[in-house]
Symmetry: D2
Subunit: 162 residues, 4 copies
Amino acid sequence: MKIQIFCVGGTIDKIYFDAKSKYEVGSPAIGKLLAELSIHFSYKVDSLMAKDSLEMTDEDRRLIREAVMNSSSDRILITHGTDTMPETARALLGIDGKTIVLTGALAPAIFRDSDAAFNVGGALAAAQSKPAGVYIVMNGEVFDGDKVRKDVEANRFVGLAS
Amino acid sequence: MKIQIFCVGGTIDKIYFDAKSKYEVGSPAIGKLLAELSIHFSYKVDSLMAKDSLEMTDEDRRLIREAVMNSSSDRILITHGTDTMPETARALLGIDGKTIVLTGALAPAIFRDSDAAFNVGGALAAAQSKPAGVYIVMNGEVFDGDKVRKDVEANRFVGLAS
Amino acid sequence: MKIQIFCVGGTIDKIYFDAKSKYEVGSPAIGKLLAELSIHFSYKVDSLMAKDSLEMTDEDRRLIREAVMNSSSDRILITHGTDTMPETARALLGIDGKTIVLTGALAPAIFRDSDAAFNVGGALAAAQSKPAGVYIVMNGEVFDGDKVRKDVEANRFVGLAS
Amino acid sequence: MKIQIFCVGGTIDKIYFDAKSKYEVGSPAIGKLLAELSIHFSYKVDSLMAKDSLEMTDEDRRLIREAVMNSSSDRILITHGTDTMPETARALLGIDGKTIVLTGALAPAIFRDSDAAFNVGGALAAAQSKPAGVYIVMNGEVFDGDKVRKDVEANRFVGLAS
């Protein structure tokens, strides 16, 4: 098994700069997270961009789609901001022969109570278990990429009826 | 979706008693872990026993198999000690129509660097994604229940060639 | 012993709002922190304001000084933003008969690697151990309130030669 | 300032070996703990022994007393098991010109909810703030070394009336 991990920013990677009292997107959290666990399959982490997902453009999504298509791996995990994760999922539909799983976190990975490790564990398992297609793993659930939205009020992902 | 979670003990549930300077198996860690996350699907946690997996008997495994067969759910997650997790997986083979996923942790869930949340996230995703059968999710991998062993020296799970 | 704890905001209390992608000062972190420890002396936590310390005004410092003077306790702990902690310490000089200790954190208490618990432990010990006067406890050191500055570049507190 | 830190074992240093399902005393936790914080004063960590404090003998306490007396530093911090910490404190009474502070933890430093960082922060502050003598810092309090006992039932330290 070989999993290609692409990181594009989002809350999971958010860090905090004291002087300026604001968050910025830092280096991919999933790299440190996996390095601290006992992982023995082959994976590669590449940062494509480091953006708050609200600021992602069509051009950014085109770039992600290209990276996925050009990857030699057919198991792709993408860490992504939560606000527009469903939009990016839809922009990745229709790529033959690849299982593409998006995940992220509702709280930065550096937080004591972050959901990052739980979500990444789920996304890795889905990437190995699901047939080709696009999926979002958040809140402990594996959603089809074209049947999920973020409920911003409730701060969670909700499946759409088929 | 409805997931039935059975807990039988193991390292994931280990706690520590200062006075006696030793570990004992405590109440199921997965209950607290899921309660602290934002989980919105229906799940039920039942503790079947609280044993170090080295002490599990054929009778214990018969009891687990019965609980799985009697469950009205066809998605089953079992938290289990790591040392004999593959033996229990094999004792659960051949149950029709149910996806059964075993997981646990190499370090107790109360440890700062425990793999518990990561593993449970993976096991939940596998339980939703895999066809009927028995699986072990450890070290970020989804193993077939009849093709995995624990490498005790290396303290990790290894897949067996088909 | 009775310790009065005043909270005025700062990094230690910073929380993060996903929707807006920015930090805001939340409720006093020291309350939750002490509640989770096994503390048996009498203490009281009062929030005076919730400000980034760069935004603190002379009026704010007058308000803090009044609260300290009006407190019936002679052991006072103040959690405060780090950037202007020395200024507030100086504004509290010359209050007879009270040991006043300021502390805070370089990383929010909700962060995995926050120095909050370490600093608060130090501040409590200093409040019990020091004669009347004003002190800052940061970076594991007990500084005299009139002989300390924050080295913003190095992100740490440095004592001034007497 | 120069602080000499001696480590003699105890719960704070407890680690866990999966294979044997039991705890053992590991290398000094205070070294890692301080290394991860932003500490800029000079300190030295020396491990004198690695014992559960229930197993400490008079000979062990004689060895600790000698190490303290032979140290060139007059600010000494000792991390110690909690069960007999008061006994060791009493064995260190009457050393002229040195401030000696004992601390430890009710839960191992590797636990998510350990009191280790909080206690060590307090012990460092007390070592800097107190006149020569012997002290115990536990549960957020600075106790005189000859006026404190551990309440084993309540799992906490209690001051004795003078």
